[in-house]
Symmetry: C5
Subunit: 361 residues, 5 copies
């Protein structure tokens, strides 16, 4: 969960190590679009990319999958991407960040998916933004959250076709950030169920589950918190690449990240509350069990002593045959048995009264 | 409770989605007032609004209810409201915020109502402030806290008729913020009752109730904290729309938000204290129960052993008929029974003395 | 305790509502003093105030008691006090604050009294500082902490007669702030007693008392913390009213507020520690009680079983009259009884050894 | 422990009250030194001080003991020390601070001694630094940590003789700050012992001891934290008195204060950990004791019931003399006794198996 | 663990005390390299160092081991190293720091090794960076993490041979910082094992182990947190020595330190969670044991009372020989025994039903 890929300590910086876990062939495709024009295709190599981008158009290159380091290197050479940035692309599990290089901006974000309510996984998305080009690189070549953006570009209308690669970067980040809302909604519902469970039938599994929620929210925070900083840094960046028109959208996106952080913090407080409730629920149950045991024991222990007393075998005669009238004369009383029964009933009644007053019964 | 409406991830920004839960027809009305003039009416469509606002007058348009997206769009077109702001109007449950757009200010606030002592609900109020116009949009078309403000405008006198839409915005925010005081007063009284309950008769429901208070206060804080920032941002905004005369009132309003935050924090500490007191109260009761059980058990267990001892059936003769004088001669002692009673009384007295010294009795 | 007076939500700002709880006639008096001159008198109405203040003199007007709103209004008109400030004077329980108005400074402070060791009460003091006039308004007309200041003015000597109303404001604040030291000293002593009590004889009342201390300290902090900000704001204010010579005294006063905050924080940590010690003390006592119960039970339960065993009535003959020599032959052994006593002594000794080794005895 | 001397609230500022607890005659001495010259002597009154300091020389005046207020006043007059500063000298237990007065700097520091491992005491050291004079005033006239500094001055060599009073102030602060290292070392060793004790044989005294450590560290932090600010303020002060050459030493001293704060924080976390370990250790022991009790009780309670069963006296004949063969025929079975022993052995074995599986044995 | 070497309080600053624990002869070697040239050798004394460094070349001097103070002094004289810096080199256990001296930069870092999963040790590395020279001094002469850097210099290619001593400093720090990743990976895996252990078979050792992890992470944070500040200070330093080309690498290194802090904080939260889980796991087990004890006791205690009752020896005749028919007539009922067995079965069944409903069985 908390793993981050790292190069062997001492490795030269900007070394591109192939990602061992990456499977499947990476998919490379591009989309060139402008206010009145759009073309897209899936390609095999960097050389198939259009040699030039028409004025006013934007070139969006997508590389999905990290299995082919050479493809990445080729991209880097073609668009002058900084080697340190490329290294970060490969060392997945990075903290989201925003960096300004001489001829491009570099953004790392984490796309959050939830598998079940308790497990989250993040997929690293690296975005390079140039003058009229945007390169997005995903860890995996299967699912992503960008399809609605692609559709909006294809359909046209709205803002996306009229604006530059900075707006496209905003749109991609917006899709990533907003995907946290349904993820959090699922967690929120699970937490509400947990609350009922904790109050009504706490069980050993509960602690583990609450703990898992805490970890999930911690993870989420670890990804969203720096994403907020990324958006803020873009918003206040003095780079020419980010145009004034885009900033108003980035401000809106910033608000979304703040709202997500708000929800995460609220949920975290709820999990803390759940744990406290669980602890007190268990200690209350122990208390109740103790009470029952105490009441039953306390009532019967003296009574059992009394019946044991009259089960003793002291004899009315000594070995020498002398009378020993002091030895348990009660056993020979005419109403000894009813008397002892009555005494025991009184003792029990007294104790029950005492326990009732103490509210233990 | 912690829900926030959001657009489907990937939706184009500034898309106005109708609010599914919104019921009832929205109510649109306006009030045009100046130092010596006032007119108000309820209208059906944006076209019925006065075409121009007389110089020195303020036009206050109120839209209560979000069921009609087209009405909202019409308002937006008529007054040049930014689409991103309109989207926020519809996505209710927003964090309070203050944003400056080119030709208007945009404020989101949350009106807090309490339903019973443990549940709060917030109703989003969106306010657009222009040169001589103020548009306030409420989530719901029924209750609101603005009636006293309307009365003050109708009655005249005081400041409101002489000042601009910025003062009106202040007056509305003031009504919203000050409504937290009675809400908090109710919570404060409930907390004091809880304190007595926890100390005197803690019961399983207590934890749940304390937990609910914590959540209510958390919610409240989530709304009031950013409201403070809203007021602070207005106070220090360099927008021309907010006149110098209004700022002194905003400073006063800021103080109110700080005082509310103060109260919320104080109450939060009280709930934490309640939980701790509850825990210690339960553990103390367990301790007391244990003590009673221990004392009773400890006194009677040895006595019960002794009476059991003399209930054994060892025989004074062996099977072969030989005398076995070692077998329980005590049973034939002349004063065996009184002796054993005395020994038991001594043991019990010793234990009682020991427990008294230990302060267990 | 955490109450604050507030105007009904929606009330026009700067509305002066009479204080319902205020009792008794307010007392109005003034003192005019300069390096070589002093006059003072108790008056009935604002019109009796000197029409002009001699050059180089300071006019100190004291209003003690808030029952007469008209008196307050008259004062406000005579000295041009801002209506929002006057509203704050009446809404007692305010957070201490420092505000700059056009022709005067406005300070709210809370005078802390302790009634017994566990209850504190604050009395609001509002101070207006003008060019050569200082108006101090107290909630109540009885006790205050300003008598030593009045004496110093009457006696002359020292700084107070030679300096302006800003120094007088400092002197009043100094008296208010320094009064926290004896209050804290009393709390400190009570806390030390509590520590002994918690360690030696924790009892159910302890938690409530610790909780009360926590609340008292919380209250105190709520008043002192903003008072520190008040002093800091005065110290760094660019108002002409606060002369350079006074600032060195304000710096000293600021140090006092810091030291008080320091003490409060230290005491808060002590109360937290007390609560933890209490909890662990209770759990340790439970543990000790359990240990005694366990040792006694564990030793006697097996022995009681054994004596029960030989109390069984298995017969040496079957119903049919056949010998049943397998039935409890031990009862007829010559040394059956001493043997069983020996076995029980051995068992008890073994258990005692085991418990000693476990350190349970 | 948390006591601070304060003037009676309302006292005029800069009043010098004699310190009641101060005992013994104060010792006044001076040392005048320069690169090639040194003279020192113990004197009786301020008038015996050299009238002038040779150019390039430094005059270090030491006053140890606060019993003589007049001596202090005389010093103040001779060197123009600010009365507010002199008041702070007498009000011992001050927070360390650094203040710039017109013709001197004023430093308060706390010299930390440990008496045993759990008690710390601080002695206030006040330092006035002028152009070519340094006055250090200690609370007490006996022990101090300055002897090595005096030796270094006497011996010469190194920096101290070549530099000004600012360097001397640094040297004194350095001696005070570095004295915290051995104090902390002792605490660190005591904490390590505590850790072993908590894990191996927690006892009631433990909580008190851990609590004491916490308080000691809290105290230490209360003194060291502002001392860090003092050094920082000196380092960044724009006073002419602090020469550039001295600043590099102050930077080094600042590092020392940071390292001490680091150690204190680390130890505080350790004490928190100790308390948690203690709590869990106690609850684990309770658990273990419970387990033993439960196992023994659970095994013997049913067996005791069985033996009690066959100790009943149901008779084979009714009072009327009829046979009642249903009454306890087992007692007359030929192998009744071995059978019941066998049954009990089986029950015990079953329970032992169950408890072993549950890991309770 | 938390130890830091310090000079005796009052020692003159910049005193070089030999390190008592340092063993073995220090190893001194140097490497001179440039884009096209490299030479290295192990030497005995500072005088064997090249007298001049060729233009464009970098001289890297390594001193491993601190046993020889004279060697250090010789280095200091040759390269004008500040005495305060040299003192810090010897006082190992320093907080990482970055300081600018007149003619060199001074960096202290801590190289982290892990010995087993629970123990960390840090080795202090001091680095002086001059115009064309870098001196690195290690506490110990055996292991280090710099071998890959040396290899990269020997092999050439990449950046290292073309850049200055500032890049070399970066490369060394990078090796030190990145070495934390495998250290953390080991801790992460151990924590995951712990989680399973806590949930499935908590035992007394667990608390100690969790506590150890906490301390290890605390230690790690104490070293890494200031290392982040070191990198940040280098990145923003205005020293000429740090060239612009190097800063982009330092930014990358800064990211690494942030990621390590992130991991450490995440792990710390996990250990806190582990402790909470452990506590609740123990209290749940206590609860379960209590439940078993209560059920068994509660069922058998009344039954044992009943069998005791009929074991009493009340006699059908008085001593005087009169009939006492009230004394235990049940013993002579024809079906007394089966009846009492039935009653007991009913009681047991009732209790089992009650406990089942309470979910205690």
């Amino acid at each position: 969960m908390f793993k981050k890929r790292y190069s062997r300590p001492g490795t030269a910086p900007a070394t591109l190590n192939p990602l061992p876990s990456a499977a499947g062939t990476p998919v490379l495709r591009f989309m060139e679009y402008g206010p009145d024009h759009i073309s897209e295709s899936v390609i095999r190599s960097v050389s198939e990319l259009p040699a030039e981008v028409m004025k006013g158009n934007v070139l969006w290159i997508e590389l999905n999958g990290l299995a082919d380091v050479n493809l990445l290197k080729a991209l880097g050479e073609r668009f002058n991407l900084h080697p340190l940035a490329l290294e970060d692309v490969l060392n997945v599990g990075q903290r989201p960040k925003f960096e300004t290089y001489e001829n491009h901006l570099f953004i790392i974000a984490q796309m959050i998916y939830n598998e079940g309510t308790e497990t989250l996984c993040g997929e690293q998305v690296s975005i390079f933004v140039g003058e009229n080009v945007l390169i997005s690189i995903q860890e995996d070549h299967e699912t992503d959250v960008f399809e609605p953006v692609r559709q909006r570009i294809r359909v046209g209308g709205g803002y996306v076709r009229k604006m530059g690669p900075d707006y496209l970067a905003y749109a991609l980040l917006d899709a990533i950030v907003d995907h946290c809302f349904p993820v959090l909604e699922i967690i929120g519902e699970a937490l509400e169920e947990m609350e009922n469970e904790v109050l009504n039938k706490p069980n050993p599994r509960t602690v583990g589950t609450v703990h898992n929620f805490k970890r999930t929210l911690m993870q989420l925070r670890r990804f969203v918190w720096p994403e907020r900083d990324v958006v803020s840094a873009m918003l206040h960046s003095d780079s020419q690449v980010i145009r004034k028109e885009t900033r108003i959208f980035l401000r809106d996106l910033y608000d979304h990240t703040v709202q997500i952080m708000d929800l995460i913090e609220a949920y975290r407080e709820v999990t803390t509350g759940l744990f406290e409730m669980y602890l007190s629920s268990v200690s209350l149950r122990t208390n109740e069990i103790m009470r029952v045991l105490t009441v039953i024991s306390a009532i019967f222990i003296p009574l059992t002593f009394i019946v044991g007393l009259y089960g003793m075998n002291f004899q009315p005669t000594t070995t020498a045959g002398d009378a020993a009238p002091a030895n348990m004369p009660e056993l020979h009383w005419k109403y000894g048995y009813p008397l002892v029964l009555g005494v025991m009933a009184l003792i029990a009644a007294g104790q029950i009264y005492f326990f009732k007053r103490k509210k233990w019964m």
